[in-house]
Subunit: 204 residues, 2 copies
DNA sequence: GGCAGAAGCGGGGTAAAGTCCGCTTACGAA
DNA sequence: TTCGTAAGCGGACTTTACCCCGCTTCTGCC
């Protein structure tokens, strides 16, 4: 019996619970847009949504859990593009190109959801007991690396390294106090850097 | 006028302040060794050291600041090895070898100070306004990369990527609930992975 | 429909981070 | 030595995440 990857409510959710979850997510999104992440407190969310504090915690586990849920939600269609959309992001292109394209797409995605991304990814990560983590990003990168001929390589470690190299520089930037200043240039530089890193790592 | 890299008390510290700082650090180290990081609260540290809570915050800024200070302290002699010790860690070896050796050394260092490292690096990083960060690790890696012929490359981004690829996988492991289980094997695997990554990135 | 018991709910309670501000102390200059 | 003042100190206060547990509401089953 393994722990779930990230915190989540037990499987078969009762109808009222599901309704509340949706309501809470919608309210959270509103509050985030209106007043920024630091104003999104558990008490405020409970009050504004007309539910009890206990309920909020039951649904999301921790404050970070709210941002993770928000990001998951936004990630859903991004994920579809990734798994079944047109190349180079979707299947059909050579895996190295898909890897490069994936990095750029993920960066733009995180950038577009910067508030949630910052709070979700900087918050203390829930780590599954007894194993290495497997976020969506991690899984996808590992899958693509498996399709590339890399010679002798420890794919587990390489995946962890590349996942970190993809997310962390952007997160660092997003945490800077003036993160909105030159957002596009920075994103471009990071996307180019990712492309270059992939090329260096994967060339024969 | 730039912000300091990490939070620190204003420059010329009064004698009583310096004494208190040392006393607090020593007490913190004791508490960490005796009861683990989660028991090291600001209140507890203040009480045990016989000082006021305000003083603790004045010295370290935030809770994370204490772990950062602890780690900095431990890092001092490691740093000397790095800057002036024998090759391949110190100067004299080819920069690629130094880079590889540095990664392994840093991993062992973080592993030896895992409690402080985890708390310091997972805690919300204080990010300097208006620029990319420059931790000791970051600076050293950037310096070494500057000595290597990499062809066209954005060294700023590459440095951020490699710094992340070095620290994050280990931190993830350190955050796992059973982090002490197979510590040495994991460290070895990560060190090998780092060596391999450096080789891939830096080969002509 | 009625029932049992699990799932969900609410909101008061606790602990710990971080702030504030009036009092005290070190220390350079006269 | 004395004095002015900036630095330091302490601890009450505020805020907020997170826990607890008695009560309520679903929902599958007869």
């Amino acid at each position: 019996m393994t722990e779930p990857l990230v915190w989540q409510a037990p499987q078969p959710e009762r109808a009222d619970a599901a309704r509340n979850r949706q309501h809470l997510l919608a309210t959270a999104r509103e509050m985030l847009a209106e007043a920024g992440p630091e104003r999104l407190t558990m008490d405020a969310l409970a009050e504004r949504s007309g539910l009890g504090k206990g309920t909020v915690f039951r649904r999301f586990g921790t404050r970070t859990g709210i941002f993770v849920a928000l990001l998951d939600d936004a990630e859903r269609d991004f994920q579809e593009q990734m798994l079944g959309g047109p190349p180079p992001l979707g299947p059909g292109a050579p895996p190295i190109d898909r890897l490069a394209a994936y990095g750029e797409a993920r960066m733009r995605f995180l950038m577009d959801n910067r508030d949630a991304a910052r709070a979700a990814l900087l918050g203390r990560l829930p780590v599954p007991a007894g194993g290495l983590p497997a976020s969506l990003s991690h899984t996808h990168i590992r899958m693509l690396l498996g399709l590339i001929d890399l010679g002798p390589a420890d794919l587990t470690v390489l995946t962890a390294q590349l996942t970190a190299a993809l997310d962390v520089p952007l997160l660092r930037y997003l945490s800077a106090t003036d993160a909105d200043h030159a957002a596009d240039q920075v994103t471009d530089a990071l996307a180019n850097g990712w492309r270059d890193l992939v090329r260096r790592v994967c060339r024969p």
